[in-house]
Amino acid sequence: MKADIAVIDYGMGNLRSVSKAIEHVAPAASVVVTSDPGVIAEAGRVVFPGQGAAPDCMREIDARGLRQVIIDAAHSKPFLGICMGMQVLFEHSEEGDTACLGILPGTVQRFPHEAMVDATGDKLKVPHMGWNNVHQAMPHPLWVGIEEGARFYFVHSYFVQPTSPEVIAGFSHYPFPFTCAVATGNIFAVQFHPEKSQNDGLTLLGNFVTWNPGASETACDMSGAACA
């Protein structure tokens, strides 16, 4: 049976929270946590989570032969990257000087030690851990029902720097603005954890499971497909 939603399992961290949250917002959908390239290729939608360090992440993706199926999915079906699953979509991570998937142009950098002070001069901790405001940089079907500036749960020490500013879908401040959501075509990816961000996180996941990227105006314009 073809899965509605495949959650890619490549041995990096705990995927149960992600699958539980998706099952919660899409009780009728079949959700599988899988490392089987065939299942991922057949699935209607793909969620690409991940925790841990970038070098391990890339190594585990290749050890399971998942690189190509992830790239294909990112180009062909609704695709949600979460945390490390957002970072490795880019070309390179400073973490362990790691070549990543290169699906999106840009790099991944660490919060620079010298910049980590707040407006009052107090030290800011790394990892950036806790609930921070997410500012929406573009209208997007995945933001529907979520207030501008809503708080989401973060835990990370590295952040993405996209080469093209037009893919930036959201940003946060710590203490400087950094990109925490990107969107292009059928890809949406977030640095924060929607599966741990209570109601707003569930809203975002609910938007993802019903998102039809092909129906958006941009996609219509680009593809020239019938939009009527």
């Binding site: 705990n14 929270s17 919660h24 990892p127 806790g130 708080r151 973060f154």
Partner: protein
């Protein structure tokens, strides 16, 4: 701006929350799932479960509880108590915990902190440090504060950070249960000595203590049990109070 976190702590033994929790209209004051649900609705930023089950026979009960809570409460869940090996970390994460707290075993076997953070990432490894003032410094204690280790708490905190801890849960054994406020000097000394977030614990008796923990203690998060359990203060009330005192919170 990043919010300071408020974390209620639930002590669980044999599958039940002990110390009692006093919510209005709570059907069963000992049911961890129901209590977790209520704290989630009240705006808790995370939940911490401390398994204090003495007998190993009933250890699996915590796994069932976490599974049930994780199916309906979508905020970070930390579980501690009795974590001795990497396999324990794995079982708790698989059950739905987001972070696992290691206390005594970190002292007995510091390599466990490194192995677990290498395997699952620093973001899910919390090291709990129970500390007491001894002479002119703070010493690390284990076994619920009964056993002195001879370790200096500040040096220990730095070592745990270097081995891969993503966060430290710091409890003052001098203040725990006293309701006289956090040991602010200890909290600040440790928070300033490391780059990772600190959760302050032990001694909260009123809402000003939470403010002091952040302001004076430089804590990134504050943990409390009894002031929330017995309905003295609500989570939302605590957050409003902190906000009134200039602290960024998630409302």
């Amino acid at each position: 701006m990043l919010a300071k976190r408020i974390i209620p702590c639930l002590d669980v033994t044999n599958g039940r929350v002990v110390k009692g929790v006093n919510f209005v209209e709570l059907k069963d004051a000992g049911d961890p799932v129901e209590i977790a649900r209520r704290y989630n609705e009240a705006g808790a930023d995370e939940l911490t479960f401390l398994d204090i089950t003495a007998s190993s026979d009933n250890r699996d009960l915590i796994l069932h509880i976490i599974e049930a809570v994780a199916s309906e409460v979508f905020i970070p869940l930390t579980v501690g108590g009795g974590v001795r090996e990497v396999g324990d970390v794995q079982r708790l994460l698989n059950a739905g915990a987001d972070k696992v707290s290691i206390n005594t075993s970190a002292v007995v076997n510091p390599q466990l902190v490194k192995d677990a953070s290498d395997r699952y990432g620093s973001q899910c490894i919390v090291v709990a440090i129970d500390s007491k003032r001894v002479g002119d410094h703070w010493e690390v204690f284990t076994h619920g504060g009964r056993k002195a280790t001879g370790l200096d708490a500040i040096e220990w905190a730095k070592k745990m950070e270097s081995l891969g801890a993503g966060e430290l849960l710091l409890t003052s054994m001098d203040r725990d249960g006293t309701k006289s406020g956090f040991d602010l000097e200890l909290t600040r000394a440790i928070s300033d000595a490391v780059d990772i977030p600190i959760i302050a614990s032990g001694g909260v008796g009123n809402l000003q203590h939470l403010v002091d923990g952040v302001r004076e203690g430089h804590a990134d998060a504050v943990l409390a049990a009894s002031i929330f359990h017995f309905g003295e203060y609500g989570i939302d009330e605590a957050k409003k109070y902190m906000k009134q005192h200039g602290i960024e919170v998630r409302l």
